[in-house]
């Protein structure tokens, strides 16, 4: 009987070893896929540029487009969380990660560049986590991401009217988020507490 026990243990160890190796392979594939996405995304960004080529203020235009894209991706993510749609939120997180990674800060002042780089670095991490987490964890990162996006908007400015909204029920002192509409749709609780929250501030 003892022998059987020892053998079973060894098999378990070997299987564990193999699992670790196969996990590694999977991860490499994911990274390659991610690379492709970002290339595709880049092309999309170029289309945007061409479309608006009539505008002579190309530099500030690109700058606006980038900030606008961040907000668009952020709103897609927020809406996915309102709907408690984990898959859609993960996709939006991935998209936001790509947008942030291709964000070019060179048209800003030196001081703004430093600040923006810090924001982008941290926000990218949150977006990346959102792209591969369960919905509870996605919301935790969304809470932190909101701070970064809010600070980013303070630097880049925005054409849209944004509503900074806040639900005191969420963990860690309450959860804030940005929305394009005044009406409260809670991304931290979804249908459980859809109306929880208040408009704290209007931006623009």
């Amino acid at each position: 009987m003892k022998k059987v026990n020892v053998t079973t243990m060894m098999i378990a160890v070997a299987v564990l070893g193999l699992t670790v190796i196969s996990c590694k392979d999977e991860k490499t594939e994911h990274t390659e896929e991610a690379g492709m996405h970002s290339e595709m995304n880049h092309e999309k960004g170029m289309d945007h540029d061409n479309m608006s080529a009539s505008n002579t203020g190309m530099d500030s235009n690109t700058q606006n487009l980038q900030a606008k894209q961040v907000l668009t991706d952020y709103m897609t993510l927020k809406d996915a969380l309102v709907a408690t749609d984990e898959k859609a939120a993960a996709d939006a997180g991935k998209q936001l990660q790509n947008t942030l990674q291709s964000f070019d800060v060179s048209n800003f002042t030196t001081e703004q560049q430093t600040e923006l780089k810090d924001i982008i670095e941290v926000a990218t991490e949150h977006a990346e986590h959102i792209s591969r987490s369960d919905v509870a964890h996605q919301r935790e990162h969304f809470q932190m991401l909101t701070k970064d996006v809010t600070d980013m908007v303070a630097i880049t400015g925005t054409e849209n009217t944004l509503y900074q909204q806040f639900c005191p029920m969420y963990a860690d002192g309450g959860g804030a988020w940005l929305s394009m509409e005044r009406e409260i749709k809670n991304p931290y609780f979804g249908s459980k507490m859809m109306k929880c929250g208040k408009v704290k501030k209007e931006i623009n």
Binding site: V6, I11, A14, G17, I119, E140, D148
Partner: protein
């Protein structure tokens, strides 16, 4: 039973064989200036807890007891070290921007509160790496204090 008698020696040989595959060691000679414990002057009791429970995967210096050198445990650990350092590297703490520090501290607190860290699979092998309830509370309290003091 017969099958086991045939398989067992094969596995044993395989297990011995994989011991000779070289791995990269995550070790450094000195504690860098940017080290979390050094920079923050972390109290000894908290610092020790962090070193035992976190530093193996979240710093440039892994303590390697014998079982961490044995395959496939070493592979398992190597993978976690790579991942772990990407997420949070206590050795490079002071290179982080204050925004990033703040974000990391929030995540540290949450991960420990939710019992997601230290990883269960890690404390399973590394029995002394798990926090007791008291230790857990102490580490969280310290991290919260540090986060507030940085703001």
């Amino acid at each position: 039973m017969k099958i086991l008698k045939i398989i067992a020696p094969i596995l044993l040989v395989a297990l011995l064989g994989i011991q000779f595959i070289p791995t990269t060691r995550n070790q450094s000679e000195f504690v860098p200036k940017t080290d979390f414990i050094k920079v923050n002057n972390t109290p000894d009791n908290i610092g020790k807890l962090l070193q035992v429970a976190c530093y193996d995967c979240h710093s440039n210096n892994t303590a390697y007891p014998w079982y961490n050198k044995v395959q496939p445990v070493a592979w398992f650990l190597e993978d976690h070290i790579k991942e772990g350092k990407k997420e949070l590297n206590f050795s490079e703490w002071d290179d982080y921007s204050s925004r990033r520090k703040n974000s990391k501290l929030k995540s540290i607190i949450r991960q420990i509160e939710d019992n997601e860290m230290p990883l269960f699979s890690y404390t399973l092998i590394h029995r002394d790496a798990g926090f007791s309830d008291v230790e857990k509370a102490e580490v969280i309290e310290y991290m919260k204090w540090l986060k507030d003091s940085l703001q």
